[in-house]
């Protein structure tokens, strides 16, 4: 028996059990083979439920389980580390006709994948602006910390995320929202990124000063208030310094 036959039969619940697999009486394995099918389906459904808690909450347990089964057969894992399993979920949801009326779900999946990437990202010392005079601060050339992740959406993904994770969170308003996830210590925190924030973050490449990055943000989004934007980046652990090759 080839492992390719075994694999194909595990992934297709309607496929016949491969020949040569037996019960102790020498009869075809039948239901015994289904243990392997069930193990795989249950473990992947669990992994997706753990990885997409807000998506699961929005869809409800039964619908999410159905979605998980369909998704996991179409996209079985390609890596043994399941911490990023479901990377194909956003694109899958965008093409999934039964949920076409809920186009924000794909971006919620993107947000939850970004939270997981943040959780497992490398540790970094945050830029510490305390005691730094403003002129010195403006000349710093930081980068985004490895755990900092940005997800932009035409939908209120921060509001939807809050509404489904925090008691008494307000009802989401129908606006486009960009989320920045930072990880001050071990727990990723999704922040609503103010206008100009994505431009500011995108400008920080380790050579560009904070002053120049702020200038770019104003050019891209005239009239924005720079103070709350800068405060968010400086107090959330979003920034760090690039390490040189010898560090």
């Amino acid at each position: 028996m080839q492992q390719s036959d075994f694999t194909a039969a595990i992934l297709d619940p309607n496929a016949p059990v491969p020949p040569g697999l037996l019960d102790p009486e020498g009869r075809p394995a039948g239901k015994r083979f289904n243990v392997y099918r069930n193990n795989l389906a249950a473990s992947l459904t669990d992994a997706l439920e753990t990885g997409f808690p807000v998506l699961a909450r929005l869809l409800g347990a039964d619908s999410f389980k159905t979605l998980s089964l369909i998704f996991s057969r179409a996209h079985p894992p390609t890596s043994r580390a399941l911490s990023q399993y479901g990377a194909a979920m956003p694109a899958f949801l965008e093409g999934f006709e039964p949920l076409a009326a809920y186009p924000y779900l794909a971006d919620i999946a993107r947000l939850e994948l970004a939270i997981r990437r943040s959780y497992h990202a490398a540790d970094a010392d945050p830029l510490n602006a305390a005691g730094m005079d403003p002129a010195t601060l403006m000349e710093q050339t930081p980068v985004l910390a490895p755990a900092t992740q940005i997800v932009a959406s035409p939908y209120p993904i921060h509001g939807i995320w809050r509404r489904n994770t925090q008691p008494d969170a307000p009802k989401p308003q129908p606006v486009a929202e960009t989320v920045m996830i930072t990880r001050p210590e071990f727990d990723p925190i999704p922040h609503l990124l103010p206008a100009g924030g994505a431009t500011f973050a995108g400008a920080l490449d380790g050579r560009t000063t904070i002053a120049l990055a702020l200038e770019r943000s104003i050019e891209a989004t005239p009239g924005i208030d720079l103070a709350p934007l800068l405060t968010l980046f400086l107090t959330s652990g979003a920034l760090t310094f690039q390490k040189g090759p010898d560090q």
């Binding site: 028996m1 080839q2 492992q3 390719s4 075994f6 694999t7 595990i10 992934l11 020949p19 040569g20 697999l21 037996l22 019960d23 102790p24 009486e25 009869r27 394995a29 039948g30 239901k31 015994r32 083979f33 243990v35 392997y36 193990n39 795989l40 473990s43 992947l44 992994a47 079985p76 894992p77 390609t78 890596s79 043994r80 580390a81 399941l82 911490s83 959780y119 497992h120 990202a121 490398a122 540790d123 490895p146 755990a147 990880r183 071990f186 727990d187």
Partner: protein, 284 residues
Amino acid sequence: MYDLAQDNRLPHFAGIGYKPQHFQSLISAPGAVRWLEIHAENYMGDGGRPLAQLRALADRFPISVHGVGLSIGGEGPLDPDHLARLKHLCDWLNPASFSEHLAWSTHGDTYLNDLLPLPYTEATLTRVCAHIDEVQEALSRPMLLENPSTYLAFAESTMDEVTFLSEIAKRTGCGLLLDVNNVFVSATNQTWDPVAYIDAFPLAQVGEIHLGGHDEDEDEHGAPLLIDSHGREVVDPVWALYAHTIARGGAKPTLIEWDNNVPDFPVLEAEAARADAILQPAQV
């Protein structure tokens, strides 16, 4: 040959499979828990809480790194990237033991996230031994290989499981991880005699024992079908088989595995204490 005294630094007492929700209990009051086992694949990120907790635990407990995704029984070559990640983890942690499974889980690019069975033939024996040689060379350390839970048999098998595992240990010098619950599950499913299995097993090569819970089902002919679920207490017949194993082979590092429906720490600690009570008279 695998040298228990030299190649395995796990204490001959009870340990548990580590779950993050038990971190505080383990730091403050571990009770009978003397060592921990982690699933290697959960610690392959770049940083964050998983690695920080593991570092803190490794200061207090001997750690066993248990791989679940290497696919040693796979038809294809071992994944060099995965082997490199395992090496990175083992070099960073310097664990007391490294173990993997007699099973396969990948085919091409597809990872099936389960421990799938192998026919016991001369051809699979040769392939598994070559993969174990490769692992032991890459990690620069001997490994333990675990006996599987199986639900079906292969028409093409030409030798029994104990012969197959004994021959692997002999050819590669690896040690064995004896999962007593897996013996009970497979013996029930395959209508083998579990005591005869233990009596034939090369216990001198066993560096670790696993105990876990299983679920009971039956097949379409009404025959019992036990499923290795790791979701409940170890059942009494498995404790009895474990006591028989210890009486015969001496005290061994013994792990309580509980991966699904994970209970509060005191429940796990009580299982560890129960294993310790069986180990006590066998301590030298």
